[in-house]
Structures are given as C-alpha cells and as structure tokens.
C-alpha cells in the first residue's frame, strides 16, 4: 500500500524532512510519520517472524501495527499518531 497526496484545495504546513531507516523523506509539517512514509512509498513498518514486511492496519491508533522507534528517545511510537518533526529520525527495525 502507498498513498498519494491530494493536490487541489489543500493548505499544507512547511516542507520538512524526516529520516526513516537512514533514508531522507520529504514531507510537510502537520503530517503523521505514517502519512510521510506511505506518501514516500515506504509501507513496511516492521518485519514478522518469517521476515515478511508488515504494513499498518487501522491508521487510527488502535492496532499498534505501525510501532516504530524514535531514535532520539528510544521510545516506540505509533507512526499513525505521531506528528512528523523536521530532522526526526525513526527506525522500523526494532
């Protein structure tokens, strides 16, 4: 699954950059980490025990399938709820 941004009649925040698994991802202030990832075509939020990629499910904070690690704090956060912040670094590898 990936996503495209709506382009018409939308007001966006400032352009910012976050870092997902070392990769620079351009996005906009006000978007969640999950939004930024999906818009960049990054749809694997973890790998399961067989090494297969897993996506997010509910995109509203309930399922916890989108947990990623905030490198600065070491905390596991829900990508679908956490806002992207300029320069933020996130890992999907535990």
């Amino acid at each position: 699954m990936s996503a495209d941004r709506i382009t018409q009649d939308v007001e966006r925040g400032e352009p910012i950059t976050i870092v997902i698994d070392g990769q620079q991802v351009a996005c906009f202030a006000g978007e969640t980490i999950a939004t930024a990832m999906l818009a960049a075509g990054l749809d694997a939020f973890r790998t399961d025990q067989r090494g297969k990629p897993r996506g997010l499910l509910c995109n509203m904070g309930s399922c916890y399938e989108c947990l990623v690690t905030d490198i600065a704090t070491g905390r596991r956060i829900r990508a679908c709820l956490a806002p992207a912040a300029d320069g933020m670094e996130v890992s999907t590898r535990g």
Partner: protein, 391 residues
C-alpha cells in the same frame, strides 16, 4: 434422534481435550458449544502453567492453604501432560516450561514464601527459595526491590489461542462431532439417558459432561441440579513485542501479578484483578455481555508489574481485555461425577488452563471405567447436600 456415548457441553480446553481423549478410546462423542471453540476463559486467560500454591489460597487462612497444597498432586500430573502435549498433537503450541518465580517484596511476604515452600515440599513439589540476589542472578529483569523468590523448575506458559483449537481439531480427527453455534435449551432424562435439545440438536447420550466454565451452573440448572460455580470477571493486559528478556513465569506471593513473555515477544500481564460483570435488567449477572474494565484494576496491575519488572515501563501497553472465568464456593475446581445423577459429570471452576489437560485425561479414564482416584479431592460429591432436594 441422534445417539452418542458421551455428550459434552462446552468447547473450551477441558471439553475439547475430554472429547479427544474419549474419541481416541473409541467412544462416540458429540461436543456442543453455544458460541465458538475457545471463545470463553480458555482463550481469554493468561496462559500460565503454575504449579506453586496460588496466592489466592494463601490469603484466607490455613485450612484453604492446606486444600491448595493438595492440588499439588494433580499439578505433578499436569507437568507431564503439558510436557507431552505438543508431541501428542504434533503441533507447536508455544509451550515454554523454563521455570517460574513467585516473588516477595516485604519480610512478611518472605515468611509466606518460606512457609509455602515447606508445605509444597511435603506434597512432593520441588520449590527452591532464593534470596533477592540469587533471584536476580537467575532473572536479571527483576527489580532490586525483590527480597526473595520461590523457584519451581517446571512452571511456564503456553499459548491459550493455540491449545484449544488444536484439541478440537484432534477430537474431530478421532471421530468426535464438534457442533459450534449450538445453544442447549433443554436437557431431560429419558430411560436413564440424557436427552439434549437445542437449535438443530436432538441428542440422546449415555453420559453428559458439563464443562461450560462460568455457564456451568446454568447448564446444570437445565437438569434441575445445583452446582456452586460463580462467574468472575478478570483483566488481562498485553504490551508490545520486545526482544526475549523473560523466559520464566513471574508471580507475586503478596500482590496480584502474573507476568510472562509470549513466543511473539509480548509481555502478558494479569494476576486476578477484577472487572465488573454485566447485569441483566432483572438484576442477575449477564454472561452474554462483555465485562467492564475497572480503571483501578488496570493501574494496580501495571504498578505491580512495574515494581517487579521495572523494564515494563519502556514498553507500550497495546491491549487490555476482560474475560469471564468461574470460581466455586470453596475455591477448588469441581471435577467428576455428580452422585445425585448417575452419568452426569462436571468440570468447571477455575485452574483449568494449568490443570485442564489433566482433568480431561483423568475424566476420560473414569468415564470409560478406569480408576481416577486423583480427582477425588475435586469431586462434586462435596456439594451433594445442595442437591438433596434436586435431580
């Protein structure tokens, strides 16, 4: 009308395991489940395999503690049943028996641990009392506030979502019929047999086993028998997955806590914290509705987990759920034949994850004419006075 040697009401661990054991012995078995297989306490519980005397048996005086100790004899069977079940079913059920620690945080609790270990060793269960440092050497995840722990090498956990469906499948494989979505509406006795009717069901059986957990008293009421089994609603919690850090079952001798790490990496946190049962308009408990979480239970449970395993504070709590299990009027499970009504068997009243495989094996033996003296402690005969005017 259909006929069977044995009808079993309840598609939980005990019902499915008994169906499997009986069918393997050549009995014709029909298992009747109102909802789905594993939908009740069998699938909602913590999955603990606990063989030490439970905290709940220790907090109400010596007599109850002595009864709790007598269960140890059954626990010795359960150790073997759990160690062999994956091989018997040829399925991975995530059975992990790497030992269990029951911890103490106060001097009073340490004394309780020591007394408990003495009682357990009299019953033939090997339990070692470790001081805090010894416990942390074995279990580095434990808090510095732990003063002592009793270690039992056979304790552990298994996956409640895996075992009962596997048993149901094995029962089917041996020829048992498994009917889900089938509500029993009436049970009558005709010519010494049990006639069981429900939606799409008309069955005549020589013997009837009621293994319906919290619903067992209501099922027994259908044949005019009292069974002192009461529903209780509990709370369970799961954290996000974490790398393997806790191989053991962790319990507390003075606080409500059970904690373990599943095969997938989640920590399961429970320990008998109450939830609120739903009620009917007429004032009784409504077992068809979900029990409600009590916020103080959630905080109490998580605080106990934090005080014992401080590392939990790094993890997100991702699920909490309520489940309904059952307790009997004297806290011991009720397992065996009902003297007042020959052919009627009951198996309900808690402890049936750890002991369920053993209840099932011993009952299947007894229902087909073999001895099963081990169950006498749990016999419904102790409540026979309630049925003097019943039947």
């Amino acid at each position: 009308m259909e006929r069977a040697d044995v009808a079993i009401i309840g598609g939980g661990l005990v019902g499915c395991a008994t169906a499997w054991r009986l069918a393997r012995k050549g009995a014709s078995v029909v298992l009747i489940e109102a909802g789905d297989i594993n939908a009740g306490a069998s699938g909602q519980n913590a999955g603990s395999l606990h063989f030490q005397i439970e905290r709940r048996f220790l907090e109400n005086g010596d007599a109850l503690a002595e009864q709790g100790a007598q269960i140890v004899a059954l626990s010795r069977h359960a150790v073997i049943d759990w160690r062999t079940i994956e091989r018997e079913l040829e399925t991975d059920l995530h059975v992990a028996m790497h030992g269990g620690l029951m911890v103490a945080e106060t001097a009073e609790q340490v004394a309780l641990l020591e007394a408990k270990a003495a009682r357990e060793s009299r019953e033939g269960l090997t339990v070692r009392t470790l001081d805090g440092d010894e416990a942390r050497a074995m279990a580095p995840y434990l808090s510095s506030g732990i003063l002592a722990a009793n270690f039992s090498a056979d304790e552990g956990h298994a996956d409640p979502r895996a075992i009962t469906p596997a048993l149901a499948e094995a029962a089917r494989g041996e020829g048992a019929q498994v009917r889900t979505g089938t509500h029993v509406r009436a049970i009558t006795r005709e010519n010494g047999r049990f006639v069981i009717r429900g939606n799409g069901l008309a069955l005549s059986a020589d013997q009837l086993l009621v293994a319906a957990g919290a619903w067992s008293a209501d099922v027994c009421a259908l044949i005019n028998i009292h069974m002192p089994i009461y529903p209780v609603a509990l709370l369970m919690n799961a954290t996000e997955r974490a790398p393997p850090i806790i191989p053991h079952l962790v319990q507390h001798v003075g606080r409500r806590l059970s904690l373990k790490q599943t095969h997938a990496g989640n920590l399961l946190i429970g320990g008998g914290w109450p939830s609120r049962l739903a009620q009917t308009l007429h004032g009784g408990f409504d077992l068809s509705a979900k029990a409600q979480m009590i916020p103080e239970s959630l905080t109490g449970n998580l605080l106990a987990a934090r005080d014992v395993v401080p590392g939990v504070t790094r993890l997100n709590l991702i699920r909490s759920w309520t489940g309904v299990t059952a307790i009997t009027s004297d806290q011991l499970p009720i397992v065996g034949p009902v003297p007042r009504m020959p052919g009627l068997w009951v198996a309900a009243g808690g402890s049936a994850f750890t002991l369920g495989l053993t209840f099932a094996r011993l009952m299947a033996d007894a229902m087909t004419g073999d001895e099963a003296d081990e169950l006498s402690l749990l016999s419904p005969a102790r409540f026979e006075h309630l049925n003097g005017f019943m039947g």
